[in-house]
């Protein structure tokens, strides 16, 4: 079976991919469809979904919920994807060096990795973002800094099993430098599990971002799904849609990403393939 056929073998993956592409389209198209932006007031507050011109109702301040949801997709995807890239960067560096050199270096780097896994990472994230001042950048940096250990472990495992293979020995005999061996010889062979882990991490990062902005630690100049939920807490009693809809948006996005991750796992993970 080819990669594409293995990837799309499960119907859930196909659905997940379709939904994800739709969300990406909404995120990219938001400024074109809703040029007035998510903060502009369009009518009376707390109008229910289906009110004239308001597909998803209006929020506490009379802003169009549909516009907020569309713009929120931008933040979620941007934070999810960039922070995952950051986490993969740190994780690959740690994992590759630990796994390639082994011994004391491995011990030391793995202790650091373990440390970051033991400590309450969400509280650390709150401290990081609050101290750096809440912004899109600090959110991305913070999430990357708390999520890399998972990547590091996977990469280390791959490097441990690959470093004694013949092609690595051949590269060494040819006189290649360690860094060249790590990045041009071993890393390409270790990519499949890294892709699987990082596809799952995007969803987790989106959940974490929503939690941060729910607590008021998001970028104050941007409307995200989490801040929409946080901002409508007092309205929940009379206007369910103000909290239900942004949460559903998070859930659908993360679910779609997890389905894609499952598909990638089937297609790429040699160990679990039957």
């Amino acid at each position: 079976m080819g990669f594409v056929r293995r990837f799309l073998a499960r119907p859930t993956t196909v659905v997940g991919l379709g939904v994800f592409l739709l969300i990406v389209a909404i995120a990219l198209g938001a400024p074109l469809i809703f040029a007035r932006g998510p903060f502009s007031i369009v009518g009376m507050p707390l109008l229910p979904p289906g009110a004239p011109g308001l597909l998803a109702g209006s929020d506490v301040l009379g802003r169009d919920m549909a516009v907020g949801l569309a713009y929120g997709a931008r933040i979620s995807l941007l934070v999810g994807i960039t922070s995952t890239f950051g986490a993969v960067g740190i994780g690959v560096l740690f994992g590759a060096i630990a796994g390639y050199y082994g011994g004391v270096i491995d011990d030391l780097l793995m202790r650091v990795t373990e440390f970051f896994q033991i400590i309450p990472s969400f509280v650390l994230l709150m401290v990081l973002v609050a101290f750096l001042q809440p912004s899109l950048t600090s959110t991305v940096i913070g999430i990357a800094l708390i999520s890399w250990p998972q990547v590091a472990r996977v990469v280390r495992g791959e490097f441990l099993s690959l470093r004694s293979r013949e092609f690595v020995q051949a590269a060494r005999v040819l006189g290649m430098r360690d860094m060249a061996i790590i990045f041009t010889q071993i890393l390409p062979n270790a990519l499949p599990p890294i892709v699987v882990v990082s596809s799952m991490m995007v969803g987790t990062a989106i959940l974490t971002e929503s939690a941060l902005s729910f607590l008021g630690l998001g970028d104050p100049n941007l409307l995200s799904w989490g801040s929409m939920i946080g901002g409508s807490r007092s309205a929940m009693w009379v206007a369910w849609w103000t909290t239900v809809l942004p949460g559903l948006a998070v859930m659908i996005t993360v679910l779609a990403l997890n389905f894609i991750g499952d598909g990638l796992n089937d297609a790429l993970n040699r160990r679990r393939r039957r």
């Binding site: 033991i118 969400f122 509280v123 650390l124 609050a130 959940l207 607590l215 939920i229 998070v250 679910l255």
Partner: protein, 323 residues
């Protein structure tokens, strides 16, 4: 051997605590300005001489290693600084709220373990049945939704629409219950936040139990037990489940840091007066010493909990060696 293992774990825990304190010192320096600018900002008065005297008073004009040493010594003595907003020692403020958080988290952990093991063993007994599939689907949904949102949905259904359960706080304001009535009142208030927190872990416990039981069920000693003529129920309970539970102990330790994070959010949704709502107050009040203190205290608690689960694991499973 076991003593050596425990001693090794103890040393590791101490190292983690030291690293937490070092990390905190680094984090303080991350914030723009220093304690003097913050205090000057609060008093609304900031000429150069005043700032200088503040810096001298708090030792902020000294070299970094000296400051670090002073910081470590202070933290070791339980001095986490003073809360800007509360004007009280940070440690006192945290310790006052900590019992409420421990109560909520312990409840959630117990419900999650009991419910998850029960559901997981049900699912493992009949793999691929409707019950098994629904556990899988439910855990998939729980993993994909923000936990705080799940709490708000529970509040919407059970407090707003059905009006069965109180939505906020730890007890009825102004009711002044005592004795058993108070305990019952707190228990009723704990149901929504506790279940919200528990459900996520319940789903993962169920999945783990299911996987572990199916794996253990294949092993030779289970066949021996069956050949001995034990009933299916006895085999499942005494031989399969007991061995499948061992990895769950370690898992509980690994999940502790996630439990703390979930607790922060869920406490805020339900206004549960614990460390989590305190963290939110610290964020909104720009109370950096308090927020950092919460990080230090929760980090130490989590590493202690990990120490306990590791020791418990080494007792349950005598095969464990140093590692």
């Amino acid at each position: 051997m076991k003593l050596r293992y425990i001693a090794g774990r103890l040393v590791k825990t101490v190292m983690v605590v030291i690293a937490v304190v070092l990390l905190s010192f680094f984090l303080i320096r991350l914030a723009p300005g220093d304690a003097a600018t913050v205090m000057a900002g609060q008093s609304g008065y900031a000429d150069e001489a005043f700032m200088k005297s503040l810096r001298a008073e708090y030792g902020l004009d000294q070299p970094v290693p000296v400051q670090l040493w002073k910081y470590v010594r202070a933290v070791a003595q339980g001095d986490l600084g003073n809360s800007f907003v509360r004007r009280q020692p940070v440690l006192d403020v945290i310790l006052e709220r900590l019992p409420n958080t421990l109560l909520l988290d312990a409840f959630a952990l117990l419900v999650a373990a009991a419910g998850g093991i029960w559901l997981g063993s049900l699912a493992a007994r009949r793999p691929d049945s409707a019950g098994d599939a629904s556990v899988t689907v439910l855990s998939m949904l729980f993993y994909a939704m923000p936990q705080f949102w799940l709490g708000m949905m529970a509040m919407l259904v059970f407090s707003v629409w059905l009006a069965w359960l109180p939505p906020f706080g730890i007890e009825t304001m102004g009711a002044d219950y005592t004795g058993l009535a108070r305990i019952a009142d707190i228990a009723v208030h704990m149901i929504l936040p506790g279940m919200t927190l528990a459900l996520y872990f319940l789903a993962s416990y169920a999945r783990l139990t299911r996987a572990a039981m199916i794996e253990v069920a294949d092993q030779d000693f289970v066949k021996t037990a069956r050949a001995k003529g034990l009933t299916e129920r006895q085999v499942a309970r005494r031989h399969i489940l007991r061995n499948a539970l061992i990895p769950l102990v370690t898992y509980a330790g690994l999940q502790a840091s996630i439990l703390v994070g979930g607790s922060v959010l869920v406490e805020n949704v339900f206004s549960w007066p614990g460390v989590g709502t305190l963290a939110y107050e610290a964020v909104t009040g720009r109370d950096n010493p308090l927020l950092l203190g919460i990080f230090i205290v929760t980090a130490i608690l989590v590493s202690l909990f990990n120490l306990i689960t590791d020791i418990a694991y080494s007792i349950v499973d005598p095969r464990v060696e140093l590692g």
